[in-house]
């Protein structure tokens, strides 16, 4: 039935709700309701028209020409046109916006030219095949150009300052409490191919921020919210509850993995890195810690990434403690100290892994202790260091770590460029935490960004995946999962290519 309020309980909040600025997944999930994108990427990795009716990519993939819809208006009544698109791109690029992610997605953006009221050409300094996927994300969502200039200092505050053209109008945001949205009755520009077309069926959408896992699970089971992000520890209970439904989707992008710093200490030696990979029984750990809720990862790339994952990589890392021990012996780590750890020239084989306690989720602390125990069996001392946020990112920039964990949602294999291009050094804001520096890898990644044929593109990225694993730059652990629980009455919740829940078509069976 129509009308009513649909309430979703999210696990984390955000300090900024401007998707052009904030890098948070939650910003994207919440603001997808408010901001539309030029194109839509469905959960099977296919692009569909949205604010753009069609597009043409130049042969060198350095310029995109978009034909835009002429019947779209923003929530404040401003008509959508080519100038609005340009204003948004410029806003993302402007240093004053302090974009923490959208600007990176925009990549080597150079300029855009308004070719007509509803026609725009976007130019890049380098081939940019991944741009189409970037354009589909809420981070490059299109806001009313009026709000971008008038409220430029208030965009982070969300609420009435978030003005887009989406299925819901943003009404109110109370930090740490809730975001409230109202149905946009004029909405007639749903993405082509989306399950629900036209204005939303519910009158209101409310996103509640409930950080405490047990509280969020209780809110769902008691029917106080219609859907909730389910902590992995409650997945089993939600599945067993006959009044609830659990939907799990593997997230695309970078899987949860440990990156090994090839630039310093014992891990400079590839033999030690490969020994570390082989010392850990990843299958057993993931099964033990996550009880079948998560799958182990074989590659830095998630298998859910459209057009990139190479499944021949599965099995590439074997659990082989004897082989690992032999590798460590050959690398000269033959001594043993009083606690049984390997030594070389009197120094212990000790590796540092900094982390922020408050950011631990998905039982990653339990997993980390299990990895630690596995490595200890082979005489490797993995030291977990709890540090404060400032110190954490300072060490990130300086490369002051041996092991660094990470995962990142993106529905495109181009995510690998961030992690493996030699120029993407952490000190300059890159994510190349393993310090990989190989001209061949750079060439493959550049080819991936320039190659328009899907098959050839996939092959290019597959080579990077293989290289990353074979050279011991990474120990992939698990494939992150979005788990959403829905109540008895909730209907119409779908997922996009990022495995994020979509609320445009939600409704409830009774009031």
């Amino acid at each position: 039935m129509r009308g009513g309020t649909f309430t979703y309980a999210a696990a984390v909040g955000t300090s900024c709700l401007d998707p052009h600025t904030s890098p948070g997944d939650i910003t994207a999930v919440v603001q997808r309701n408010v901001f539309d994108s030029l194109v839509h990427l469905d959960d099977r990795g296919r692009f569909h028209p949205w604010l753009a009716t069609s597009w043409k990519i130049s042969d060198d993939a350095r310029s995109y020409t978009f034909e835009l819809r002429d019947d779209v208006t923003f929530h404040d009544g401003t008509p959508f046109d080519a100038a609005a698109v340009k204003a948004n791109l410029e806003h993302i690029r402007a240093p004053a916006t302090k974009s923490l992610y959208a600007a990176a997605l925009l990549g080597p953006y150079r300029d855009s030219e308004i070719l007509g009221e509803h026609r725009i050409r976007i130019d890049f300094a380098e081939p940019s095949v991944p741009f189409l996927q970037a354009a589909s994300t809420p981070y490059l969502g299109i806001a009313s150009p009026v709000s971008l200039s008038r409220d430029k200092d208030r965009l982070c505050a969300g609420g009435k300052y978030s003005v887009g053209s989406g299925p819901f109008r943003s009404e109110r945001y109370v930090k740490n409490d809730r975001a409230e949205f109202v149905r946009n009755a004029d909405y007639r520009w749903s993405p082509k191919g989306a399950a629900h077309q036209g204005p939303p069926l519910v009158d209101r959408l409310v996103v509640r921020f409930l950080p405490e896992d047990s509280v969020r699970a209780g809110a769902l089971t008691s029917g106080q919210v219609d859907a909730a992000a389910v902590p992995i520890t409650s997945a089993r209970a939600v599945r067993r509850d006959s009044s609830l439904k659990l939907t799990k989707r593997q997230a695309p992008g970078a899987a949860y993995a440990l990156y090994l710093n090839t630039g310093r200490g014992p891990l400079r030696d590839e033999r030690v890195r490969r020994a570390l990979q082989r010392s850990v029984d990843v299958d057993a750990l993931i099964r033990g810690v996550y009880r079948g809720e998560y799958e182990r990862a074989w590659s830095p790339l998630s298998p859910a990434t459209p057009g990139g994952y190479d499944d021949s990589i599965e099995g590439a890392i074997r659990h082989d403690p004897q082989g690992a021990a032999a590798l460590l012996d050959r690398a000269g780590w033959t001594g043993r100290d009083g606690e049984g750890y390997r030594t070389k020239d009197g120094r212990r084989l000790s590796l540092r892994w900094p982390y922020i306690g408050a950011l631990i989720r998905d039982q990653r602390d339990v997993l980390a202790e299990a990895v630690q125990a596995e490595l200890r069996k082979n005489g490797i001392d993995l030291v977990r260091e709890a540090v404060e946020t400032g110190a954490y990112f300072e060490r990130y920039g300086k490369g002051d770590y041996d092991v660094w964990d990470n995962a990142w949602v993106r529905a495109d294999p181009a995510i690998l460029a961030g992690f493996y291009l030699s120029a993407q050094r952490p000190a300059e804001g890159g994510q190349n935490v393993s310090g990989a520096n190989d001209p061949q890898v750079d060439a493959w990644l550049r080819a991936g960004a320039a190659e328009k044929r899907p098959q050839a593109r996939e092959t290019s990225y597959a080579k990077v995946e293989r290289w990353a694993v074979d050279h011991g730059t990474v120990l992939p652990l698990y494939v992150p999962v979005t788990a959403i629980g829905t109540g008895e009455k909730a209907r119409g919740l779908t997922f996009d290519a990022n495995a994020w829940p979509q609320f445009a078509g939600v409704w409830k069976t009774e009031r």
Binding site: S15, C16, T21, P23, P95, A96, K98, S99, L100, Y101, A102, A103, A104, L105, D153, R154, L155, C156, A157, V174, K175, N176, D177, R178, R208, F209, L210, P211, E212, S214, V215, G218, A219, T221, S222, G223, Q224, V225, I356, A358, E388, T389, G390, A391, Y392, F393, E394, Y396, G397, N406, G418, P426, E428, G429, G430, Q431
Partner: protein
């Protein structure tokens, strides 16, 4: 010839000067500590973001004047504070006064609600149980001991499970009406109320054992009147001296309670600000809590003067 100020005005002036000093000290300490803690605010702000570039860093440093020498930053900081300007949050990109203004109400509601409940509860149990038979007192102080040592976090989850998830009497969390306030207020009030009840009962019992109590009884004063008019007044002084501790406890308690009940409020703002090195927000909150302490202490002094005439100095 100027007349000497009346004592009340002198007292106020004295208080005000002390208050300014305290606020200045608190702000300076916060400033100092936040600049000594390792980690660069810009690095923290940017985090592991994918767009950290030299240009962006320079932009942020320029905007927040982080490249100025520490002394110049401190001078600018004090000058700004003197005009009542708290600056903009690094993380939330909004004026600190707006952030605090938006969230203050939620925390005040919670803390004041808890205060009323705990004072009422403590007064009630103390007057009812002080000087009673051993079994009554044992039961009361045993219950209080358990309540004092119950972690607020656990209590909150239990209350939620019973009254929200099972019985559906109260909404799970949030802010808005009294129903969403009930469970958080109880959670916050119980441990502090129990301690206050213990202190009050102790004070009342020692008062009831004093000779004046016997005299009053022999004058024909009814036991209830003796308790309410005399013993309570005696017990008030030691209890009121706890008010500073109580104010601090309630303020820090809100951090936990707000997190468990997913309520908006200053506690969680403080948590985010400290971990994110959001200096302007932290300084704003430090000043606010210093101001709360000042007001609470002034009130406590007034209550003591009312309760114990011996403390009133001859004028």
């Amino acid at each position: 010839m100027s007349r000497p100020l009346p004592p009340a005005a002198r007292w106020l002036l004295h208080r005000a000067a002390g208050a300014v000093l305290v606020l200045w000290g608190a702000a300076s300490l916060a400033f100092l500590v936040l600049h000594l803690v390792p980690g660069d605010p810009v690095t923290t702000l940017l985090g592991a973001s994918a767009t950290d570039s030299t240009a962006l860093r320079a932009e942020i440093r320029r905007e927040y004047r982080l490249d100025d020498p520490a002394a110049a930053q401190y001078a600018a900081f004090l000058a700004r504070l003197a005009t009542g300007e708290l600056g903009d949050s690094y993380q939330q990109r909004q004026p600190v006064s707006v952030i605090i203004g938006e969230q203050l109400g939620h925390t005040a509601e919670l803390a004041l609600g808890a205060l009323v409940l705990l004072v009422a509860g403590a007064l009630l149990t103390a007057t009812l149980t002080a000087g009673r038979g051993r079994r009554v007192r044992g039961l009361a102080s045993g219950a209080e001991l358990i309540a004092v040592s119950t972690p607020a976090f656990w209590l909150g989850i239990v209350l939620l499970t019973v009254f929200s998830f099972r019985l559906n009497v109260f909404p799970v969390a949030g802010a808005g009406d009294w129903r969403s306030l009930a469970l958080p207020v109880v959670t916050l009030a119980v441990p502090f109320g129990s301690l206050l009840a213990q202190v009050l009962r102790e004070g009342m019992e020692s008062a009831l054992h004093q000779p004046f109590a016997l005299t009053a009884r022999s004058r024909g004063l009814r036991p209830a009147a003796l308790r309410l008019r005399h013993a309570l007044r005696h017990a008030a002084v030691p209890a009121v001296t706890l008010s500073g501790w109580l104010a601090g406890g309630l303020l820090s308690g809100t951090v936990l309670v707000e997190t468990v009940f997913a309520r908006p409020g200053l506690g969680r703002v403080a948590l985010d600000a400290v971990s994110g090195r959001d200096i302007p927000v932290v300084v704003g909150l430090v000043l606010l809590s210093a101001a709360v302490y000042l007001v609470v202490n002034a009130l406590a002094d007034l209550i003591c003067l009312w309760a114990d005439p011996r403390l009133r100095s001859p004028v």
